[in-house]
Symmetry: C2
Subunit: 333 residues, 2 copies
DNA sequence: CGCGTTTACGTCGTTCGTAACGATA
DNA sequence: TATCGTTACGAACGACGTAAACGCG
């Protein structure tokens, strides 16, 4: 058994049991992988795959176990490398983040700008996707950090640390009747308008629906989108009243849109950052998290990583008063 | 980084930083290890050891981290091999048990006899030692099972499963005055005699002292030994009254010794068997445990291995009525 | 006939063990 | 001087890549 063999094994599995594809991904020759796979199976004395003709058809029962162990092993080799690089003062590396559109578009740019100044040699990889896609990346150990809001249930293997609170706002065109209101809006009024908001995923956005349901109101959601830019576009065309994340309204919108406070209408949201308990974080990763949420000090994160259960993590952060997003504005882009 | 390099690394560490010794243990040449170690350090860019002249003096800070990860990696390779061997119906292997004298001498022989009949090709390794020595072996992943009584605190990384209950008995020579008693002995009477019993370790034997202390009595322990054989020897010479584990009194003793029931004097003891949560157990290992304690079925053990905390394990077994040792007698040796 | 895997084979790099050297106590 | 680690070197092995053959859809 060799680390290479295990690496090849996972490469093949992650390429959909296509050896040729795996060879390209791993920058090596296809017969080489084929041979090493055979050697591994031979050494273990168990077929790891079921084959149809010459092709790999599926993962054999034994394969699943072996693959899971192999992932642990390769993760630990990565951990060793990370440890060593950090200790030798190496400033190069990769920071891989999976996050939602809102974070990627409205929150992270400034954080990343600062980060790049501190660590110009670190390659940044930013994956934007739905909560489910983020969870997928996390499950395969393909990202260092996941940043999202709500939907904690999707990330069982991660340590989730709350970063800041935020509230929704309502956006309407300048000339909309709601723009003229001189008192606080209430849910009744809002429910009388066609609404444009985020796609209802498992992202905890159901708190949107719930707010109306609790008030005994029915809503008329005429359009949903994944990101605030599209919502704003349709709000501008007069399709309806937009409900978006507070930080998604910026100075460029003030010309033709008006933001209306909705703190009192919907529950506060919490954005968190998560990482895998069994992955070693490089110093620059910890520093990134601290840039993103200043209360996430290196020390605190290392403490948190030792905890076994998410409940303990939550308990630790419960005593902290989290800032709201507004309090964290790094600069106005 | 190679699995070999990691294996060599651990070999050197486990040989007290002596490369020559590691080479012998690993059945390879000493320069080979030397070179691979250097290559590893070079690849990682961090010294893993501090050197005094040419000799390895100590493990560098980076080394500790790397070594810990390397142990995880090698454990997982072992797990892969175990899985594969089991799935391919291989009946060969090694069963390594660390246990106390009482178990090794009075309980295990019969279990092992049966086990060997079922699995003649499995090499048995039995290490006898104090609780602390057993804990040491366990910590280094050198045994599959630990079997002991009490002292659960010494084994934080293990899943401990209770096997059976037992009580102490009192042994005296045939002609001793206590041998003539026709009623139950009480602590008062016992305290008036010089006592011979087990060494007080952390083995939970303190319940011995505690029983007397709770009754407001002081004892006169004139001799302690690690094993019942020695205690019985000194009891025969008239040194004092022996207090030993019930199963340590067998038919060979009936000629010149008398056993007196002491169930009502001291709390009941529980013997457990423990294994590491992150080690894959071969089928024959599970079968051994079941031979040792019939309620430890394969299914139950696999369930228990999934639990994160010992408290959950305890809870699961709490609902079971454990047998006493006597109920488990396999045969009289 | 194309796609993907296996087989065959030559090349290259690496590991291994022996032997000699160096350093340390 | 004895012990232990490093360096040097030749032999053997193993991995890799190219090229060709094979099976399957």
């Amino acid at each position: 058994m060799t680390l290479q063999q295990l690496k090849y094994l996972l490469g093949v599995v992650d390429s959909g049991l296509n050896i040729t594809a795996a060879a390209e991904r791993l920058y090596t020759s296809q017969p080489g992988i084929s041979k090493q796979l055979k050697l591994l199976e031979q050494e273990l004395g168990v077929p790891l795959f079921t084959r149809r003709g010459k092709s790999l058809a599926a993962i054999a029962p034994a394969g699943h176990d072996v693959i899971a162990r192999a992932r642990n092993i390769l993760r630990e080799t990565q951990n060793i490398r990370s440890l060593a690089r950090d200790l030798s003062g190496e400033q190069q590396g990769t920071l891989c983040i999976a996050t939602t559109h809102t974070q990627a578009r409205y929150v992270l740019p400034e954080v990343i700008r600062t980060f790049r100044e501190c660590y110009p040699k670190v390659t940044l990889e930013l994956h934007q996707g739905t909560s489910e896609q983020i969870a997928e990346l996390v499950a395969n150990n393909q990202v260092d950090f996941a940043i999202a809001t709500g939907s904690q249930a999707l990330f069982p293997g991660l340590v989730l640390m709350p970063c800041y609170h935020w509230d929704r706002i309502i956006v309407v065109p300048n000339d909309h009747e709601l723009a003229q209101l001189d008192q606080d809006l209430d849910l009744d009024q809002l429910a009388q308008h066609p609404l444009v908001t985020y796609v209802f995923s498992l992202t905890g956005q159901s708190s949107f629906k719930k707010a109306f349901a609790d008030a005994g109101l029915t809503t008329n959601v005429v359009f949903t989108a994944r990101d605030a830019d599209i919502i704003k576009t349709y709000v501008r065309t007069g399709l309806g009243v937009g409900v978006i994340a507070g930080m998604a309204f910026d100075s460029h919108d003030t010309g033709d849109l008006v933001a209306i406070n909705a703190e009192h209408l919907f529950p506060q949201q919490t954005t968190w950052i998560g990482f895998s308990r069994d992955t070693v974080l490089r110093q620059y990763m910890l520093d990134f998290a601290e840039l993103f949420a200043p209360h996430l000090t290196t020390e605190r994160m290392r403490d948190v990583a030792e905890l076994e259960y998410q409940e303990e993590v939550d308990a630790l952060f419960e005593t902290l008063v989290l800032p709201t997003r507004e309090a964290l504005v790094y600069a106005d882009t």
